[in-house]
């Protein structure tokens, strides 16, 4: 290595020609992707803007407190639909959260690789099933045998919508928990179930809660699974085995009507629904951000 090599001077000065060409090309490409980003945001803003423009004026106290009425009744609302949506979501969560989180734990912590592949594939298929198909399925297995449209049937349908999201987020969040935490618990003499339940699961909990909130937001916006299951109802729901109204159903039925009163109710319903989902999503994001801030 002791040979004396004289370094050949490289030409590192920028050539004026190529530099200009590169700069123009760069500007064009950046402009194009900026345009693509803009175009993709326009529909979101347009939808939100239009819904709020049409819906906000239609919102009033009656909307939140009164039951639906005939088209000539000026004091009507969808109070039963709002309560119904909350009931449906609560029931759907009650069914899907334990099952979804449980299945997620199984996939992440147990199971041979063959089972896991199968389960993950099944989950993907379920999340890809069109929601109207879920509606027909629940109609066939719950509504027909019980001979009634019901809150129960609607809750089951929404639970099926939420299930794949819950399974995947639980699994992914548990996988993010470092194995060092599990080993620490095992080395202290914790049985496997205590290791998972007391140490791995709490570390994954913020992420799982976020996933559950997003799944609920998704289910809140579903109409199709409710058409043949919850059916809709112009009165208060009186039981698990009775039909129940939902905001999405109200929007669906009112939007196609000829009466202005009902069309305004549809717009107002769209606004309330959008706000509910927006707020849930923002809550979920805030929860996630706080976790990463630690």
């Amino acid at each position: 290595m002791a040979t004396t090599t004289v370094p050949v001077p490289r030409n590192l000065t920028r050539g004026p020609q190529t530099f200009q060409v590169r700069r123009v090309r760069s500007a064009i490409m950046i402009g194009l992707i900026w345009l693509a980003a803009l175009v993709s945001v326009i529909p979101l803003l347009a939808v939100l803007g239009w819904v709020f423009f049409q819906g906000l004026p239609a919102l009033n106290v009656d909307f939140f407190t009164q039951l639906p009425g005939p088209p000539d009744d000026p004091h009507q609302g969808v109070a039963n639909g709002i309560v119904g949506t909350v009931e449906l979501l609560a029931l759907a969560s009650l069914i899907s959260v334990p099952i979804g989180v449980g299945a997620g734990i199984y996939i992440a912590e147990f199971g041979g690789s063959r089972y896991n592949t199968l389960l993950r594939f099944a989950t993907d298929v379920l999340s890809g099933v069109p929601s109207i198909t879920i509606g027909i399925f629940v109609y066939a297995v719950v509504v027909l045998p019980t001979s009634r449209f019901s809150l129960l049937a609607g809750g089951i349908a929404l639970a099926l919508v939420m299930l794949p999201i819950l399974i995947r987020t639980t699994e992914e969040m548990l996988r993010l928990v470092p194995s060092a935490i599990r080993e620490a618990a095992l080395a202290l003499g914790a049985p496997t179930w205590k290791t998972i339940l007391r140490y791995a699961l709490p570390a994954a909990l913020p992420g799982i809660v976020t996933g559950a909130l997003l799944a609920m937001a998704r289910a809140a916006g579903e109409t199709a699974p409710l058409l043949f299951t919850a059916l809709g109802n112009n009165q208060w729901n009186t039981g698990l085995d009775q039909p129940v109204d939902a905001l999405t159903l109200k929007v669906y039925f009112y939007a196609g009507q000829a009466y202005d009163v009902w069309r305004r109710e549809a717009w107002a319903g769209a606004v309330v629904l959008t706000l509910m989902i927006l707020i849930t999503s923002i809550l979920a994001r805030v929860a996630t951000r706080r976790r990463h801030g630690r």
Binding site: L188, G189, Y199
Partner: protein
């Protein structure tokens, strides 16, 4: 060099005879001072652990081959050797943490208080309650407070609630951490520095009063001052506990350990124990050519 089987055989011949299934009386005599290169506990004659013909695998890959070793009680035994020689694997075999890794398994005998921990019917969960572990990277439970981290093992093992606070304080004292954390016991453990976290993990491990504490490169992720603290702690803790420490740091082994075992990689990539003896002897007058090459920096 590794094709010379002599050291392997020599170690085998030093091994205690297999003990009878029951009782203290017939327990194996550890290799006495008469056999050079063997651990020689001065008073207690019963080894804390006696390993016989231990083999371990990751799937089809054999990571350890024919390990024989007697661990003297209330001493620090250091395990050194180049990367990939299986010393961490060996350590994890001693409290059945090895099999936690999917596909990993081990065979052979590890006698703890006269019982083979690999015998059928032995509950690995109970073994780990007697043989604790401190890991390479500090791994406090991130969702738990400082107090709850030390209390974790006690709660897992169902210690009476009334005794927990007292035990936590005593363990933190033993880990020389009490003065630093006594005012923030209920803050998250992740707020501590790396060295403090490692001492917290040590406090957590000794809170449940194990017989043996296994340490897997406990200071390799720490700065020199934190390392020194851990080493001082080890010297204090050996009054009460048997400590087995895996280390990459030969100076650390020389500083803290009474006995040193040297692991090497065989040509088939499995690890083996090539030499074990009083630390002074290993570092000044190694019997095995590979040990000498390693401690003088020619291997590893």
């Amino acid at each position: 060099m590794a094709d010379n089987p002599a050291p392997f055989i020599r170690i085998q011949t030093q091994l205690p005879p297999a003990p009878p299934a029951n009782g203290r009386a017939g327990l194996p005599q550890p290799p006495g001072a008469a056999t050079p290169g063997a651990a020689a506990p001065p008073t207690d004659v019963r080894p804390a652990l006696a390993v016989q013909d231990l083999q371990s695998w990751y799937g089809a890959f054999q990571a350890l081959r024919g390990i024989n070793l007697a661990i003297a009680p209330r001493q620090i035994t250091a395990l050194i050797g180049p990367s990939g020689c299986g010393k961490s694997t060996f350590l994890r075999c001693l409290n059945r943490m090895h099999e936690v890794i999917p596909g990993a398994r081990a065979t052979g005998e590890v006698l703890f208080e006269g019982q083979n921990i690999y015998a059928p019917g032995i509950d690995p969960v109970l073994i780990r309650r007697h043989i604790g572990m401190v890991f390479q990277k500090p791994n406090p439970f991130p969702t738990k407070s400082i107090f709850e981290n030390v209390a974790a093992g006690l709660r897992i093992q169902g210690a009476p609630k009334a005794t927990i606070a007292e035990t936590v304080e005593r363990s933190l004292h033993q880990a020389a951490l009490w003065d630093e954390v006594k005012d923030k016991l209920h803050q998250p453990a992740t707020a501590l520095s790396g060295g403090q976290q490692q001492r917290l993990c040590l406090a957590r491990a000794i809170a449940v009063q194990p017989e043996i504490v296994l340490m897997d490169e406990p200071a390799s992720a720490l700065d020199p001052i934190a390392t020194l603290k851990i080493e001082e702690l080890m010297l204090q803790l050996k009054e009460q506990y048997t400590i087995i420490v895996v280390t990459h740091n030969m100076q650390q082994a020389a500083r803290v350990s009474d006995t040193t075992g040297v692991f090497m990689v065989r040509p088939d990539r499995a690890g083996e124990l090539v030499e074990v003896g009083p630390t002074r002897q290993i570092f000044t007058n190694p019997q095995d050519a590979r040990t000498e090459a390693y401690i003088t920096g020619r291997i590893g």
